[in-house]
Symmetry: C2
Subunit: 410 residues, 2 copies
């Protein structure tokens, strides 16, 4: 029998409790032994809970109990999750988490601590909710040189963009709709500003390429500035606007970004709608593999946590996945060096003259779309070139309202 | 150091050799030790091979060599693969395979033998080529009650159907095209008659539900009878025709089938084109998860084999995944009990009268599409009902040219 303590009885924590209880029989069959919840640690009271006897308030009780070999950290945020995780690992307990903020921020330290203590720090639920991605990525990595990962990593923003694309709602209305449905928080910054997606791509990038990416240095743009007009331009250009987390490796350097992008209709990610997530992994042998599913939600996320608990229970004192490394110096590829086509919106009192300039700079056959609701704006897509080159050319154009990269997938 | 023997130096075998050599460094890092090829067993001569010293012809040499702990069976077919696998497992060696025919036919016996000997029989590459599906399915299964799996499991037929859908080629032309491109064999029966897909859904069903499904008893229809006209009807009805492997569990009974089906455009599988595969797994906690990628090919398949080799090397004398069970008695759900909408093509000299009968039997608002190139044929989609009921009603209709189930996805 393996004894676990659940830290935090919020949405995910109560889901973990539910899945462990509901599927106890099949979990035992998989794990080869019973997995028993010894404690649930939460500062709040749950007097009406059917197992209220499990609840305690002091994490030290867990730390000091040698019977507990797995700590399930589903508190979220850095404090006190970081301290709890660190002391649990130091005490030789494995930790399973859904806490993407902590993994993205302190994963390097915590993974290396787990490695040193020969226990596990597992975080399948931190990316993609219930979609198995971390463990399959290990599998892809085992026999492949993974070269690139891009994905729709945040369900809330994908829901908002889907509303804009399908129902031509503007951003504010779509956001209100998402809030009404409970998909977006009252303060939606972590989602709509790309922070959540940034944490996830940071984790995937660090894992895939083995070097700790600093989330704070990842160029991150959210979707607040995406207008209904952008969505319409995109449609005319055979694309949809999606918030994309993207990372790739070139030699020893790594590029990592979060940004709204134009995804061409041929790309399978263009069909990923509503709160669904999808992650494309490219490897030298495997080609392209896509993982798709609901990226959030109580039970999907809880089932990913429980899968980690089962796996950890079978490797209690054997570190399974290793750790990515802290690397000295800057190994990031500056965004300006990255080549792609770029979608550009221009505003000009003299639209025809400006379009002439665009064709001179970017080529005669540049695809240009007029804004049909005014006399000043138009949009176009550049050829495939480094962003620096696009910016240099754009300096000669009047008012550039906006640019967004096109997601390239050779 | 772990020593392996590769049985069969065909497409997959040479791919395994290539991946093991090319990625030796990262494989060592993952496996925690070197993985070395000690033998390649093939009846043919490869005198010009850079490591021709590895080739032997007698499998007994592998069997008797205690240094070899992993046998990679990539011969395909039942003979001699079955005998080799059985004797390897009996000798306490783990076996890794891409041989779907053998796993589908003799998997129960071989998995239970591996369990008994406390070694592993791994077959990630047998379904979905390079797409990680067997191991993620174990993960899904760990914390979920998996309820249903459906997927596009055969790239060749999906390529042919894509040509029919996108370019309005007829079946014969599309097949010739697939043969010219090397996607289809000169004798295409295993693909176009659904045999390959049947083996794969048999494996997935047995794995997901724990009971050995008999591939010979799985209702299996291929795509030879799918006409360009069917594809056109489907398009008008908001669907595409895809060859679907499907299994679901109801209580203690299991349904398993392979058949061309109408996949509604809303279903993500409708967008899976060319030689790509996609597999949808539904679970009680996880909701719906889809795995997508190239389902075949030398390097994708080889990379799945190598992922299994690495995993096995870390669990040499510890059976990891258990086995499905042989179950006495018939636990299959007869196809006639399965409810879905059904696409029906009718031919009648008196088309209007026949359509009147259809509306009387299936409801006034039944969606009926005329064949525009003749005066006799039309198609319609029934409501959601058991197939038996559809068949009973159809008995009252004149000439039913064909019927195909609609893939339902509640």
């Amino acid at each position: 029998m393996v004894k676990v303590a659940i830290l935090g009885y919020g949405t995910v924590g109560s889901g973990v409790y539910e899945v462990l209880r509901k599927n106890a029989k099949s979990i035992k069959r998989k794990a080869g032994q019973d997995i028993d919840i010894k404690y649930i640690v939460d500062v709040r009271e749950f007097p009406d809970h059917p197992e209220s006897n499990l609840f305690i308030k002091d994490f030290n009780q867990v730390l000091e109990d040698d019977e507990v070999s797995i700590v399930v950290e589903v508190i979220g945020g850095i404090k006190p999750a970081y301290d709890f995780t660190k002391s649990a690992l130091s005490a030789g307990k494995s930790v399973v988490t859904s806490n993407k903020e902590l993994v993205a921020t302190c994963g390097t330290e915590l993974l290396n601590l787990a490695l040193e203590k020969n226990v596990n720090y597992m975080f399948e639920a931190s990316v993609g909710g219930g979609i198995p991605i971390i463990r399959p990525l290990h599998q892809c990595l085992a026999a492949n040189e993974v070269t690139e990962i891009f994905g729709i990593l945040n369900g809330t923003t994908n829901y908002i963009l889907t509303k804009m694309i399908k129902e031509h709602q503007n951003f504010d209305d779509a956001l209100s709709d998402a809030q009404a449905k409970g998909y977006a928080e009252r303060n939606p910054a972590a989602d709509v500003d790309g922070i959540d997606a940034c944490r996830k791509i940071t984790i995937l990038s660090s894992l895939a390429f083995g070097k700790a990416v600093d989330a704070n240095k990842v160029p991150t743009r959210g979707i607040r500035d995406v207008t209904l007009q952008d969505v319409k331009y995109a449609q005319k250009l055979g694309c949809v606007v999606k918030l994309i987390g993207h990372t790739k490796k070139e030699g020893e350097r790594v590029f990592c970004e979060v940004s709204p992008m134009l995804v061409p209709n041929e790309n399978p990610l263009s069909n990923v709608e509503d709160v669904f997530n999808a992650i494309t992994v490219k490897g030298d042998s495997i080609g392209e593999v896509i993982f798709y599913g609901k990226g959030a939600g109580k039970l999907p996320t809880a089932s990913a946590v429980v899968a980690d608990i089962i796996d950890t229970s079978m490797h209690l004192h054997q570190n399974k996945f290793g750790a990515w490394k802290a690397v000295e110096g800057d190994f990031s590829i500056p965004e300006d060096e990255i080549a792609s086509r770029v979608f550009v919106v221009v505003s000009s009192e003299d639209r025809e003259n400006e379009k002439f300039k665009v064709r001179t700079l970017f080529g005669e056959d540049t695809d240009i779309i007029d804004n049909s609701s005014n006399e000043t704006d138009f949009a176009f897509i550049t050829g495939n070139m480094p962003l620096r080159e696009v910016k240099e050319k754009l300096a000669a154009i009047g008012k550039v309202v906006k640019w967004m990269r096109v997601l390239e997938n050779e």
